[in-house]
Amino acid sequence: MSEHLLSIMTFLPILGMAILLLIPRENDSLLKSFTLIVTLVTFAVSLPLAFNPVFTTDGGMQYKEFASWISVGDFFEMNYNVGIDGISLWLVMLTTFIMPIAVLSTWQAVEKNIKGFMALLLLLETGMLGAFISLDLFLFYIFWELMLIPMYFLIGIWGGKNRIYAAVKFFIYTAVGSLLMLVAILFVYYYALQSGMKMDGFSIAQFYQLQVPAHAQLWLFLAFAFSFAIKVPMFPLHTWLPDAHTEAPTAGSVILAAILLKMGTYGFVRFAMPLFPDALATCMPYLATLCVIGIIYGSLVAMVQTDVKKLVAYSSVAHLGFVMLGVFALNLQGLTGGMIQMINHGISTGALFLIVGFIYERRHTREISEFGGLAKRMPIFTTIFLIITFSSIGLPGTNGFVGEFLALVGAFESGLRWYAVVATTGVILAAVYMLWMFQRVMFGEITNPKNAELQDLNAREIVLMIPLLVFVFWIGIYPNTFFSKMSPALENLIIQVKGKQQVAMVQPIEAPHHVEFK
């Protein structure tokens, strides 16, 4: 089983979807329970990955699977080529971990066409897992696009009032980026063929060996970076996010925040940076500037939001700024901080969207001014909300601090010192917007009579928050569980990026003259 573990895990949800389609659409509870079971089984299947000690010592790909898929002579070949290392490991785990929670959160929230909703969730899970484990660039692209479609429908069908606008905006933004990436992928592939490399499909490992001339790197990098930056999202390509988040149903927002955004950051780490290290070096100041602007900008805009969900969405822009700053630091501390901050953001912001969902289900509004004084009616909710709020603020002892601190340490040790200084002001602003929101929603007298009858969280809601709370403290107090398995892979990555940068510096590589596309 172990040699096909990744495939089993990835395709279990889509298999589940196929079976789901056979269940009569009236049978709501069966549809829900079945989806929950499928996601739970997927999580169980993925668990051995997390416990495998091999990641602590070996930074290479594990659980590799390879099968030839499409081959058109020498001209085009792509393979089913998957594997996992310390970088993708925790993102895969995050995905399988969040999915059951997301499914459980929809128990009462989704009313129309539950069958379609659940089927799309399962399809989405396969897409996300596939993207994280792909070792073939074209395969990655297929999974990447596969994720886009279910999300589009989740927002467009089950979303709020403005759902069509949000869904179309989400789709167009992401599709524009993807198309540029597709062109870049094809270019790199044919470039590799032209330069006489014997390609095993779009194998990433082989692309890593490739030396692309600096000027071509720049354009290719920009194409990749553009696509990933939209997904992250990095300032100023973030405006799809508040709309998509606000309109999406709770489960959609949770998945979007927790996992889909990580596709962008993961794309940088896995593809854009190691493939085009020289272009990365050239663009570094601009990228770091965008990160820092994103942190400050996201925080300031979050501060003045009147809609809780939009506030959380803008806070994502700020948090992801920290992630990218750490990643761009290109040293072990920064990358580790960036990686763990991806997980943290998945947990904390995912939890915040769940929390917003709880009060939305009760009041059918997300306007901050509609609330106030909830702490009196809902003590359990208050406690959980408080913990998550402070985790999002980055209080030491919670997960948020570990990620931010390491990202800043990394940036400080690299050339991004001054960026880190400015970014640190983000910790002040985070406290401002989160606590102000918390005060307006939870504290004060109950002025709105509709809030006077609110019920505290029920058992289901508590159960789905508990695992998130566990990880808030686990990562906050003993993050080494996660670091130890990331480090070897990240060290490999650093060698890959920096090693190639140095080669390029010593010996500038000219484009082979015979490169011409027939």
């Binding site: 405006t239 501060m303 009196k376 030491p396 910790v427 606590l435 102000w436 504290f443």
Partner: protein
């Protein structure tokens, strides 16, 4: 006992969890909840005490305990480590000792509150965080405590969360502290990176002390690092410019004000500088800044104390002012004196706050009985309470005498030690002394104003409520008595050399803290001795003058507020000045104007102006352009074959023509 060091923070943590999870549903009984909370801190106190004795008896003065790794990433190695040395041992005693008393007091004070369990859970959590701050063996473990106490402060200030003012104050406290924490964090990062570039990757306190010289005495980088840390200290310890949160923090229940906002948390900044004295001693410029900020805060906050009518606000400004003294001490290199004042201040200020709490408790009770809505904290409603509340009165008076610097009480010894060092410091010595001595006189004045308005003179409480004002129960008065006792005798552990010389009492504290501060203090001490030609006459002269100033302050306050209407006439004569002082010199308004409102406006502009108009304008604009294009192009698709044929012909002509004519 050293190997049981972890027990000290462990007990309160457990207490907090038990009360937090089970207090409301399962335990319910106030006695049990309060008992668990108090017992947890008492247990910590006992362990601390045994550690303290072992440390004083033993020869090994520094003990580090490592409990595994927190973060291991490459050369970044951060452990869960605790550090016991004379400094932390002393601080442990203050925190757990005063903490135990205040927990006991809270059982009585918080009686009948709906959130009784919540209060004790938070209070225990606070003690846990404070102990982590004190015991933290490296800057990051300290930072856990540092922000942890900020969290608990937030929770406890906002304890009455239904009041908007409480919610505002809580948020303000946390955010202002965060500005300080920003400094702490940046200082930490810079320190880590700079030391690392010298080959020492560490944030461990002992190693920082050992390697501080690598940064170069007086170098720019060490000045920057220490200034950043000091920014952290100004946030936590409410110094200029970040003091504004502390007076508002009085929204919390009174035991909270006593424990967090007087005795322990707000002294964390002083403690942190003491903890890193080796580093700070390397940066004379920073030390100068600290001394000036401390002295300025001492006198500035004292001036605001003149015009406040809320008994807790008077004490709050007094706390800010007294913390200024501690920073002054740290700034002139008198680390021992700063910690000494920290300790005595913890005794007398906790006593004052708890005493004010006892008064408020009684006033509240009385007003409640009479169904009146008068403010139970407004001193203008009090007066003559000395007859009604004997124990509260006497303890409050003793603590007031102590804070005013009357000889033989604890405050006298510690304050005088600071004044002496300030006078002797090499830079700006006498000016620092003048400011600090002036502030001491002002302290004596406003504190005795407070006593006279509250306890002396005619009773101004509404007649209907008067008879319902009683002395508080023993759980409240017992801590008062103990703290008042400490406020008297606490000073004898650090009798200044000049006095001790005559009565043969050694300066015990200086000897005890010598292993921590000795080295850093030495350089400053030598300078002072050279400066002042260490004559007994000079020391006694200065001492006499400061006593005289305090005496004048006391006399004026008693005279003005008991016998005359001078204050009222003064207010009538200078209405603008009075209003400015009463409104805290409009500093809050200034900050709102300078920082808060522009930030909000800018955020709003970025959102409505940039996000919605510019970015989305472009995005939607592209969409619009596409629509317009296709709307236009639609007309070409007429469906008539003739039109298409016409197009083809034109196209062919153009292309052929292009190649022919080229």
């Amino acid at each position: 006992m050293y190997d049981k060091l972890w027990l000290i923070p462990f007990f309160p943590l457990v207490g907090s969890i038990i009360n937090g999870l089970f207090g409301k549903r399962y335990i319910k009984s106030e006695k049990v909840i309060g008992g668990i909370g108090t017992l947890a801190v008492v247990c910590s106190f006992i362990v601390s005490l045994s550690c303290f004795f072992q440390l004083s008896a033993g020869t090994e003065k520094v003990y580090e305990a490592v409990y595994g790794s927190w973060m291991t990433v490459g050369q970044l190695q951060i452990n869960w480590e605790l550090l016991l040395d004379p400094l932390s041992a002393l601080m442990l005693l203050v925190v757990t000792g005063v903490g135990s008393l205040i927990h006991l007091y809270s059982i009585g004070y918080m009686h009948g509150e709906v959130g009784f369990y919540r209060f004790f859970s938070y209070l225990n959590l606070f003690v846990f965080a404070m102990l982590m701050l004190v015991l933290g063996g490296n800057a990051l473990v300290m930072f856990i405590g540092w922000e942890g106490v900020g969290l608990c402060s937030y929770l406890l200030i906002g304890y009455y969360f239904e009041k908007k003012s409480a919610g505002d104050a809580a948020k303000k406290a946390f955010v202002v502290n965060r500005i300080g924490d920003f400094g702490f964090l940046l200082g930490l990062l810079t320190l880590y990176w700079t030391l690392g570039s010298k080959g020492v990757w560490t944030i461990n306190f002992v190693e920082i002390s050992h390697n501080a010289h690598l940064l170069g005495p007086g170098s720019v980088v060490v000045t920057v690092i220490t200034l950043l840390f000091f920014l952290g200290a100004t946030g936590k310890s409410a110094q200029i410019p970040l003091y504004t949160w502390l007076p508002d923090a009085m929204e919390g229940p009174t035991p909270v004000s006593a424990l967090i906002h007087a005795a322990t948390m707000v002294t964390a900044g002083v403690y942190m500088i003491g903890r890193m004295n080796g580093l700070f001693a390397m940066a004379p410029d920073t030390m100068m800044v600290i001394a000036i900020v401390g002295a300025a805060t001492a006198i500035f906050a004292a001036s605001i104390g003149f015009a406040q009518n809320d008994i807790k606000r008077v004490l709050a400004y007094s706390t800010v002012s007294q913390l200024g003294y501690m920073f002054l001490a740290m700034g002139v290199g008198a680390f021992t004196a700063g910690i000494f004042h920290l300790m005595t201040h913890a005794f007398f200020k906790a006593c004052l706050f708890l005493g004010s709490g006892s008064v408020i408790h009684a006033m509240h009770h009385g007003l409640h009985h009479a169904h009146l809505n008068d403010d139970p904290q407004d001193m203008r409603n009090m007066g003559g309470l000395s007859k009604k509340m004997k124990v509260t009165y006497w303890t409050f008076l003793i603590a007031t005498i102590a804070i005013s610097g009357v000889p033989l009480f604890s405050g006298f010894f510690s304050k005088d030690e600071i004044l002496w060092w300030a006078a002797g410091s090499t830079r700006g010595g006498w000016m620092l002394w003048v400011v600090a001595a002036g502030a001491a006189g002002m302290t004596a004045f406003y504190m005795f104003r407070c006593v006279s308005m509250t306890f002396w003179g005619p009773q101004k409480t509404n007649a209907k409520a008067k008879d319902h004002i009683h002395e508080s129960p023993w759980v409240i008065t017992l801590p008062l008595v103990v703290l008042a006792f400490l406020a008297v005798v606490g000073g004898y552990v650090g009798v200044p050399a000049a006095l001790g010389h005559f009565v043969h009492i050694p300066n015990y504290l200086e000897g005890f803290l010598e292993p921590v501060f000795g080295h850093a203090q030495e350089t400053y001490q030598i300078a002072i001795k050279a400066n002042m030609a260490h004559s007994l006459l000079a020391e006694f002269g200065l001492m006499g003058m400061s006593v005289l100033i305090a005496g004048i302050g006391i006399a004026l306050a008693c005279y003005f507020y008991l016998k005359t209407d001078v204050p009222a006439r003064f207010v009538a004569a200078f209405p603008k000045l009075h209003r400015a002082v009463f409104n805290k010199w409009y500093i809050d308004e200034l900050y709102d104007f300078l920082f808060v409102n522009p930030c909000k406006r800018f955020g709003l502009f970025l959102w409505k102006g940039f996000d919605v108009n510019v970015v989305d304008g472009v995005v939607n604009g592209v969409g619009r352009v596409m629509q317009l294009f296709s709307a236009g192009l639609r007309y070409i698709q007429t469906g008539f074959v003739q039109n298409y044929a016409m197009g083809m012909v034109i196209g062919v002509v153009v292309i052929v023509g292009f190649y022919v004519l080229r």
